[in-house]
């Protein structure tokens, strides 16, 4: 083989290698490409609320990422917001794990929302170290559809949040993290941050941060009609 041919072949090989590297780089979830926008459009998991889907970049909860829900008060419908997505995941035979829920998840309510109870796992690890370990293991295991966690008394370090985000990406798992609203001002690696509050009979959502999409929008979601109906009972 002549040296010229050799040279040409070498050049082709290096070109291929470069292309491969570029493809690998572009395949990363955190690189945004205008040309790929339509691909990315629909990889979220439907929230069950069309108004919310329209606001979110992936037309649903971002897959393989942390979603932070900033809530101060329980009882405004924060869990009901997630239930349609969780029900869909359990129907697809994926596990849903609750880590340190503040109260008992009430089986009849979850079952009537369509959640398959045998796919639900509740963890109560002792101490923050075990909690973080269990969350990371669960997120990166790849067999868990969604993990819901509630922030304990001391806020987790930024490094830990980042680790959880990476673990969620590795395991393609939805991670919902409930935190108090006082954390709204502190930076966070989460790809979606939502502020939840109550407004009359409605749940008021505010997008604080969204990777690959706009933020700052507000949305009101009505609560289930059979809850807010007024009979005006006397006692």
């Amino acid at each position: 083989m002549s040296s010229a041919e050799n040279l040409i072949q070498n050049k082709q090989l290096t070109d291929q290698l470069k292309q491969q590297r570029l493809d690998q780089l572009l395949a990363r979830a955190d690189i945004w490409q205008a040309a790929n926008e339509h691909h990315r459009r629909r990889n979220g998991i439907a929230t069950g609320y069309s108004g919310l889907d329209a606001l979110l970049a992936g037309h649903g909860w971002p897959r393989g990422a942390t979603t932070e829900l900033l809530v101060d008060q329980s009882g405004i419908g924060e869990l009901s917001l997630l239930l349609p997505a969780l029900a869909e995941l359990t129907r697809q035979e994926q596990m849903v794990v609750l880590v340190n829920p503040p109260h008992i998840p009430y089986a009849p309510a979850l079952a009537s929302a369509g959640v398959q109870l045998e796919k639900l796992l509740i963890l109560h690890p002792r101490g923050p170290r075990d909690t973080l370990w269990a969350m990371e293991q669960t997120l990166q295991s790849g067999c868990c559809g969604a993990l819901l966690s509630w922030q304990e008394r001391q806020p987790p370090a930024d490094r830990d949040l980042r680790r959880l985000q990476v673990a969620a990406r590795d395991g393609e798992c939805l991670h919902f993290h409930f935190r108090p609203q006082s954390c709204a001002s502190s930076p966070s690696p989460a790809s979606l941050r939502l502020q939840l509050a109550s407004d009359g009979d409605q749940l008021a959502l505010k997008l604080i941060k969204q990777l690959g999409g706009r933020s700052g929008q507000q949305l009101h979601l009505a609560r289930a009609a059979d809850l807010t109906r007024r009979d005006g009972p006397l006692h």
Binding site: G75, G77, P101, H103, L110, L117, S198
Partner: protein
């Protein structure tokens, strides 16, 4: 019939020191019994310490000799374990303990009948190789002999020429060759007491061939009936029965540390060896275990038992070691550990489709979730994991129960409970929380206003404790929805759930 005899010359020493990591044998060691050296390791042998010396002589030869008292119980247990190991190759196994008189020079040995398992193991040569390499892995030194009867195998295992042939043996030898070896063997290799051998030598009989040349009746009058029987068994003219070994349906193995360990990390190495032994046996016997029970022996200070739960049949040693590691990491040792044991009882037969070695990864998600749950259980403890299920009851707090074992494979049962068709809160309080009631107004973090109700739930009126309640949905000041009830007997108000 093709009998293999495996003799274990260093069993007294190995029963005590097997647990230690393989490496250059530093310190000279000897096992002693009744003021006599019974067994020595290689570095002690280099210093001219041999079996049969008194302790005083041995210590004079080698000042830094470490003396370990002989533990015959541990030895016989190790022999049982070896029999169990042998049973994984062939169903006809017979262990024989060393004779109590240590000066006899007879070692503990194991008889294996090989003619039935040659085909399954790919012939004689691969089988012998496998046996040798596994013995080496277990750190057990041994030598072997092949014979047409157990007695012949025992004798030939001591014959140097036969052992050399066996090292490269490809197929079982012909009957003539056996006869040749036996008749060539020196008389001192006969399996009988010293007195008889001395008598033989006094008669000028040095080789077995000379003995066989004498008519049997003559031999009988001089050496007795038993000796003639023994010769017949050696020849193969008489049956040679040995007690057959029946394995218990459980696994037990123990490693003893001559110098106690005080760090839980150091335990990982011996634990890994035990797990590998377990997996080999389970694989061969097509069994699985749902629980590994580890016993850490602190000697005088008692012992500690750890158990590792395994949700699915699992024969991969690496995963079992990883689960054990999670448990050992949590452990802080207060006392040094002298021995570690692994017990698995309730071994169950492996089903057709139950092993997690799915070649095409079809059920990989279910598999991974089993592995995840095992891991979580091992580190967090059994009680930290739970599930929820429905239960049939009128009372809201009894309409659910926590489920211990998660049903990960969705297998629909015949009877499915249906949840009640009324709005129920997502969170239930473990105990109803008292609400303040002043002037017909309810206060719980601000004033509560009732939206709907009442829904009367009246249960257990036929029993001593009646539960009569009127449930309402109420709204707090900040828009949160609560599930509250009024107890009809005491007229007090309680918060029972939150519509999260």
């Amino acid at each position: 019939m093709l009998w293999l005899c495996i003799q274990f010359p260093n069993l007294p020493l190995e029963a005590l020191t097997r647990a230690q990591q393989a490496g250059p044998d530093g310190s000279p060691r000897a096992v002693v019994e009744k003021e006599q050296v019974v067994d020595v390791n290689s570095s002690a042998r280099e210093r001219a310490v041999t079996c049969g010396l008194t302790i005083a002589t041995a210590c004079a030869l080698c000042a830094d000799l470490e003396l370990l008292p002989r533990d015959t119980e541990r030895e016989s247990q190790l022999l049982q374990e070896l029999a169990q190991w042998g049973y994984s190759f062939t169903p006809v196994v017979s262990p024989r303990a060393a004779s109590p008189h240590s000066d006899d020079g007879s070692f503990a040995c194991l008889y294996l009948e090989l003619s039935g398992c040659l085909k399954a193991n790919g012939g004689l040569e691969p089988l012998l190789q496998q046996l040798r390499s596994e013995l080496q892995q277990m750190h057990i030194s041994a030598f072997m002999g092949l014979g047409h009867s157990p007695s012949a195998a025992h004798m030939l295992s001591q014959l140097e020429e036969h052992r050399q042939w066996l090292a490269g043996a490809k197929a079982p030898p012909s009957p003539q060759q056996w006869r040749q070896w036996i008749s060539f063997a020196p008389g001192k290799l006969l399996d009988c007491d010293h007195k008889t051998i001395a008598k033989l030598y006094a008669c000028g009989i040095k080789r077995v061939s000379q003995l066989l040349a004498i008519p049997l009746s003559e031999v009988g009058t001089r050496f007795g009936r038993d000796f003639v029987n023994y010769l017949a068994r050696l020849n193969g003219t008489r049956h040679d029965p040995v007690p057959s070994y029946q394995p218990p349906p459980e696994f037990h193995s123990e490693l003893f540390f001559p110098s106690p360990l005080d760090n839980s990390e150091q335990l990982l190495f011996p634990a890994g060896r035990l797990v590998r032994e377990l997996c080999q046996q389970l694989q061969r016997r097509q069994l699985y275990s749902q629980q590994l029970r580890w016993k850490l022996d602190f000697g005088q200070q008692g012992c500690k038992v750890l158990s590792v739960e395994i949700s699915r049949p699992q024969l991969d040693p690496q995963r079992l070691i990883a689960l054990t590691k999670l448990q050992l990491e949590r452990l802080t040792l207060e006392q040094p550990v002298q021995a570690i044991g692994l017990t698995c009882d309730r071994l169950q037969p492996l089903g057709q489709d139950s092993v997690d070695d799915d070649l095409f990864g079809e059920a990989s998600r279910v598999q991974r979730s089993h592995q995840l749950i095992d891991k979580l259980k091992a580190r967090l403890g059994h009680q930290s994991l739970s599930g929820v299920t429905l239960k049939e009851s009128h009372l809201p707090e009894q309409a659910w129960q926590s489920a211990d074992n998660l049903v990960l494979n969705s297998r629909k049962r015949g009877h499915q409970l249906q949840p009640v068709n009324a709005p129920r809160p997502n969170w239930l309080l473990p105990r109803p929380d008292r609400i303040q009631c002043r002037n017909q107004r309810l206060f719980y973090r601000g004033e509560l206003r009732l939206l709907q109700g009442p829904e009367r739930i009246d249960g257990y009126w036929w029993q001593h404790r009646r539960h009569a309640r009127d449930y309402y949905i109420a709204r707090g000041d900040e828009g949160a929805l609560y599930w509250v009830f009024q107890d009809l007997t005491s007229e007090a108000w309680y918060l029972h759930g939150v519509y999260a």
